[in-house]
């Protein structure tokens, strides 16, 4: 499969590149000029419609890792219009599989997170008006509308907090369990969701636009990741228990 990755130079990009490059041909893109690696790379601003359409020619799937948080203009350009450009490119080239990404509050904003537990992805989107959440939520809504009107499938992977794998975990003195977010995952486990999202047959997806919470198995019970395991077959390997469990009682 030839896969276009948008925003490949971000924090998650190299991990995703690593798990996909053995079995797939990758075209990596980002706003940065430079890339030091074995795959094809093109400088591309996801807010550039014609640029995204051009980069998507001949690919079988698009993975969107692009994200911009603090600047209001660029946040809308990247997080919202970037999704429009990606979906337009998919329609124009007949690309059947899109992997979108975002933070958990793309769907479950403060109205959920501040009040609720056992939060799944099967809920109406309520991002709130925070810039990052809201612009990502608009992008997801664009993906949803395109999936309802065109012959393509969108799989959205939601993340929140990333941690280092246990082999690289910080010393115990640096770990503060009270700062731990119960929607955390290691970079490596997060990346392992991408091949599954790309390769799952259409018929095994309940709809043309499906959202999955990607975080490790945690006892907090605030969010659910059961659907990711059941449908994608994603199984986290690290439960990050050093962040939420005492060594001894």
């Amino acid at each position: 499969m030839k896969i276009l990755i948008l925003g490949s130079n971000g924090m998650l990009g190299p991990h995703v590149e690593r798990v996909l490059q053995e079995d797939h041909q990758l075209l990596l893109t980002d706003v940065g000029k430079t890339y030091d690696g074995p795959n094809e790379y093109r400088q591309l601003d996801v807010a550039d419609l014609e640029g995204v359409v051009s980069a998507a020619e001949g690919v079988d799937a698009i993975v969107n890792l692009s994200v911009l948080r603090p600047d209001r203009k660029v946040a809308f350009d990247v997080n919202s219009r970037g999704c429009y450009n990606m979906m337009e490119a998919a329609v124009r080239h007949g690309i059947p599989r899109i992997i979108n990404t975002g933070p958990h509050f793309t769907i479950a904003g403060p109205n959920y997170e501040d009040f609720e537990f056992n939060i799944s992805t099967e809920i109406p989107s309520q991002s709130g008006t925070g810039l990052y959440a809201h612009t990502k939520s608009l992008g997801q809504e664009i993906c949803r509308v395109y999936s309802e009107n065109h012959d393509l499938h969108v799989v959205t992977l939601l993340f929140y907090n990333f941690k280092e794998h246990q082999d690289h975990k910080p010393p115990e003195s640096k770990i503060d369990p009270h700062q731990f977010v119960p929607f955390s995952v290691t970079w490596e486990d997060a990346a392992r969701a991408f091949p599954l999202a790309l390769e799952i047959p259409d018929a095994q997806l309940p709809s043309k636009c499906e959202i999955f919470n990607i975080f490790c198995d945690l006892p907090h019970g605030q969010f659910q990741n059961e659907k990711s395991r059941r449908i994608l077959g994603w199984v986290p390997t690290d439960n990050l228990d050093q962040y939420w469990k005492r060594d001894s009682v």
Binding site: A47, L49, R72, K73, F76, D77, S80, R81, Y84, M87, V91, G109, N111, Q126, S127, G128, T129, H134, T135, S137, L138, E141, I142, V145, Y146, E148, N149, H150
Partner: protein, 222 residues
């Protein structure tokens, strides 16, 4: 009231301003609506903002999307900061047209937007408005307008005559909604506006606008 109306290139905006000026202080403002102090200054001491999207062939799809999402967000952000009490957004009934014509579609039906750029922009701007309405810091009203007709020549099945549009928008600007018997008035309200008559009934139900805003389209016999 002090009222700010956007989109001076729109005939509807201009007609509404003309009607409002008899009883209110009205300012017509063109975008683009950025963020920052100038935006806050624009809505300072304003009671109601009436916002509509430009419909000009000279605007490309990226600009349309920017106007629908970012600029609507910026306006609402400024309105909340400056304590503007009401925000009325002019949307479109286009997102409801995918339902069969014999269905009695009202505001409780889920919008089914297509990816046609104008309809998509209306839908996305509503999406922005809804999050602000949900936070209860400003009274947000969305008016989904039928196909505007100023000269009686539109053959649409969801036509909205210019006079009816002006009448409906004026009511949305001026009317305080009655609280329910068990809850305060919602800060998120959608109303469908279209014309009709005995010979050509409305495709979309306007019952809510009639009951809550007193909207009476021409040709409807009471």
């Amino acid at each position: 009231m002090n009222i700010l109306v956007t989109n001076p290139t729109s005939r509807l905006s201009r007609e509404i301003v003309q009607s409002l000026t008899f009883a209110h202080e009205v300012e017509l403002a063109a975008g683009p609506f950025s963020h920052g102090e100038t935006q806050n200054e624009l809505v300072k001491d304003v009671d109601v903002v009436l916002h509509s999207l430009q419909d000009s062939p000279s605007i490309d799809e990226s600009e349309r999307l920017d106007q629908a999402m970012r600029q609507t967000y910026n306006l609402l952000w400024a309105c909340v900061q400056e304590r503007v009490s009401r925000f009325v957004f002019l949307s479109s009934l286009s997102s409801m047209k995918a339902y069969p014509e014999n269905y009695i579609v009202n505001e409780k039906w889920r919008p089914l937007p297509t990816t046609e750029i104008n309809g998509l922009c209306f839908h996305l701007a509503e999406f922005v408005c809804r999050e602000y309405g949900r936070e209860r810091s400003i009274d947000v009203r969305v008016l989904r307008l039928g196909d505007l007709d100023w000269d009686g020549k539109t053959g649409s099945d969801s036509v909205l005559h210019g006079a009816d549009a002006v009448n409906g928008v004026m009511r949305a600007i001026e009317f305080d909604l009655e609280p329910g018997s068990w809850a305060p008035a919602s800060t998120w309200n959608v109303f469908h506006l279209q014309s009709g008559g005995p010979l050509k009934p409305s495709r979309f139900s306007t019952r809510k606008a009639e009951a809550e805003l007193g909207f009476i389209p021409e040709g409807i016999q009471k």
